[in-house]
């Protein structure tokens, strides 16, 4: 897990609208296959919303863990 190469970290802590997931969607749409985006979110909803979106869209969830008062979530663009 520590071997992951992060392409870009998106710090969306404190973000409310349009929300951390929207920031991630934006990055993935722009990115290249194989890129890994790490999202930092203080919104508890992200821990559920992000994996759900990733799963539906067919990308890969690398990790999703709580770290103090925020979540650290990494997603790999697979297509």
């Amino acid at each position: 897990m520590s071997e992951v190469n992060i392409t870009k970290t998106i710090d969306a802590r404190g973000s409310y609208c349009p929300g951390p997931l929207m920031e991630l969607v934006k990055a993935i749409k722009r990115g290249q296959v194989g890129d890994v985006y790490e999202l930092l979110s203080s919104d508890n909803g992200s821990a559920k919303d992000v994996p759900e979106w990733v799963n539906k869209m067919g990308h890969e969830l690398v990790y999703c863990r709580e770290e103090g008062d925020f979540w650290r979530i990494a997603v790999k663009k697979t297509k």
Binding site: A12, C17, L21, M22, K26, G58
Partner: protein
């Protein structure tokens, strides 16, 4: 010596800041101590919410446009020219014809919907987010005989409630013209609910169900086949349509990218409380041009303008810039052709729509007229 504030962009944000500064510091601008320069690339000031009404034949562009020079305080020096390069190191803005040094800079260059952001979209889809787009779409909407009207939404985009207003207005419109039973209205959204704000999503879904509007979540438009009239979702599924209306991903103004000031989409990294460009002491960023995690909306620009003007005045008077923006936004939401609701929220407080009413609809229509007072810096 004259001090100079340059504002780039004469839309909602730029015009408000220019007018309020000139008005608040009238002594200084009349005595020549201060010069307020507004650089704008168009002589027409357009009220963008009008596009929605144009699309449904409820108004024409002339109604929603004014000459910028007539909206401005007489002491604002309006330079009608495109900014080509913004040099924050040398504190200079270069236009096609001239070069201006500044003491303070306010960047208010807005954002634009990029129909090129998805392959096939420009040829196969419509948008009501530009004046030309709204005019083109009006023809389609008025001549539509039935079939599937598909709405797709990408991020980031301005006015997050306008797509909802659009679909509700379409529902009403086709009911009134008597062909609603032949029109399949389909609304899509990129994430797992129909709006990024949960309370708005919950409210909207109830409305969709009541009105028979279909919706699909987790819809991220990846490409469009304009010949076959098929929209493709990121998950590979195919969605045939007769009329495609897209709110595509927005980008910051070209000059921002050309000047190396923005992120990959052309939005400028901005301190969410002070509204200063990150790492720059003399540069404020306002309105759609920022990368702030707030809605890109005229009302946001309005509240931000209050903060920026107060801080500029403080700084000109040798005081620290202590005013802070709290993320406040306010949006009316048309829920049909005769009813509306509204939401208001900030960085900390979530929105909660109130029950729609005819009165709120009239408020929204009144604001369409009052807007010109806001732009003048009066309201």
């Amino acid at each position: 010596m004259t001090r100079r504030i340059i504002i780039v962009g004469g839309g909602v944000a730029g015009t408000m800041v220019a007018n309020r500064l000139a008005k608040s510091l009238e002594n200084e601008v009349y005595s020549g101590e201060l010069e307020v320069v507004l650089i704008g690339n168009t002589g027409k000031h357009i009220y963008q919410p009008g596009f929605l009404f144009m699309a449904f034949n409820e108004g024409f562009l002339e109604q929603f446009a004014r000459e910028e020079k007539y909206l401005l305080h007489p002491k604002v020096n309006f330079v009608m020219d495109a900014a080509r390069h913004i040099d924050v190191d040398r504190k200079r803005v270069i236009t096609g014809k001239q070069s201006f040094d500044y003491d303070f800079l306010v960047i208010a260059t807005g954002s634009y919907p990029d129909m090129e952001s998805v392959p096939g979209l420009a040829a196969g889809g419509h948008t009501f987010y530009t004046p030309e787009g709204a005019e083109r779409l009006r023809h389609e909407i008025l001549n539509f005989q039935g079939g599937t009207l598909l709405v797709t939404i990408d991020v980031p985009h301005k006015c997050p409630v306008a797509p909802l207003e659009f679909i509700f207005m379409a529902d009403d419109y086709y009911r009134e013209t008597g062909i609603r039973n032949k029109v399949k209205l389909k609304y899509t959204y990129p994430i797992g609910r129909v709006h990024s704000l949960e309370p708005v999503a919950k409210w909207a879904v109830k409305e969709f169900e009541k009105r028979g509007i279909e919706y699909e979540v987790f819809f991220n438009l990846e490409k469009v086949d304009p010949e076959k009239k098929i929209a493709y979702n990121m998950d590979g599924s195919e969605h045939p349509y007769d009329l495609l209306i897209a709110i595509p991903a927005h980008r910051g103004a070209r000059v921002i990218q050309d000047s190396g000031l923005g992120d990959e989409d052309g939005f400028i990294p901005t301190d969410r409380y002070s509204l200063k460009m990150e790492g720059q002491d003399c540069v404020y960023v306002i309105g759609d041009a920022t990368d702030l995690p707030v809605s890109k909306a005229g009302s946001t620009a309005h509240y931000e303008a209050d903060v920026v003007v107060k801080n500029l005045i403080s700084e000109l008077k040798g005081l620290p810039a202590t005013h802070r923006y709290n993320g406040k936004a306010f949006c009316f939401i048309e829920t049909g052709l005769n009813e509306a609701t509204y939401i208001t929220f900030n960085y900390k407080q979530p929105p909660q729509p109130v029950p729609p009413s005819e009165m709120l609809h009239w408020f929204k229509l009144s604001y369409n007229e009052m807007y010109w007072l806001s732009a003048r810096g009066i309201l």
